[in-house]
Amino acid sequence: MTREERLRSVYEQVDEMLGWIRSSVDHLVIISDHGMQVSWIDNKTGKHSMRALFATTIDDQIPKSVFDVKDWLEDRKPNKTVKNEDAGFDTTAEQLEALGYK
């Protein structure tokens, strides 16, 4: 299987799973932090691209940038009370290493 085929397979798996979730909830929002460079678009591979995405079932204007997502979501909460918590990562070293971070 080529790199493209493997990558496409993962997208299709996730898309299928999201279809089930989509049918189970009132509203769904999909956010990404960046994309992935691929040879047929970027002429190189393996690094993150600038192609982050935002998608929603809500018929509304989407945020302009990743910095605007928090306000976008808060503006659409039925109850505006926000619970403040730390935004740190609880991920273990092993999990992050598996993600490629050393």
Partner: protein, 195 residues
Amino acid sequence: MVENIVVIALDAADYALAREWDCENILLETHGEIETFTYGTETPSTLEVWPSVATGLHPEDHRIINENEAAQSWGNPVLRMGSKVTQYLPTTVRSTLGKPFHRAGQKKQFQQTDAPTYLKMDMYFLGQESRQHRTFQKPGILCFVPMKRLQGRNSRVNCSSFWGARSVGRHGWRKLMFLLSVFIAIFLISLGMPI
């Protein structure tokens, strides 16, 4: 049915690829490319961008910064200094050098921020093969957050045992169903295949 919003955080989900492969459930009814950023690294860093999504702040303000591609740093300041000195060595060499200190009980720490947010994210992998499965025995999905509706019970939900689309177990789906009953649930799924 209670109105809820489920937020799925797809790490490394590329807008152009989702469109190219007609991923209708990734793109939903309304979709677009949004601006992301680079700061401590040459390309956008997972470690920096997600805290910005959660807080709305630039890394200079939330202070979770990916320096030298490192997601974590030694708690011991002497080891942190040593790590900077060795930052240009191959990863395998650096890993070998660090093992004695790990065995001696030295720990690496994750950066934290006290910036206001209602999100708190863990990361797990989806779509990876057996290596990652063996590594943490819980590839797949993510985590969550919360919610007004859960206050007074568990203020935070951590679905650490979820499995991926092909291997999700009965237990994982029960957790997922529970999360879908809350107002906002955040799931972080990675599409960044290291291939």
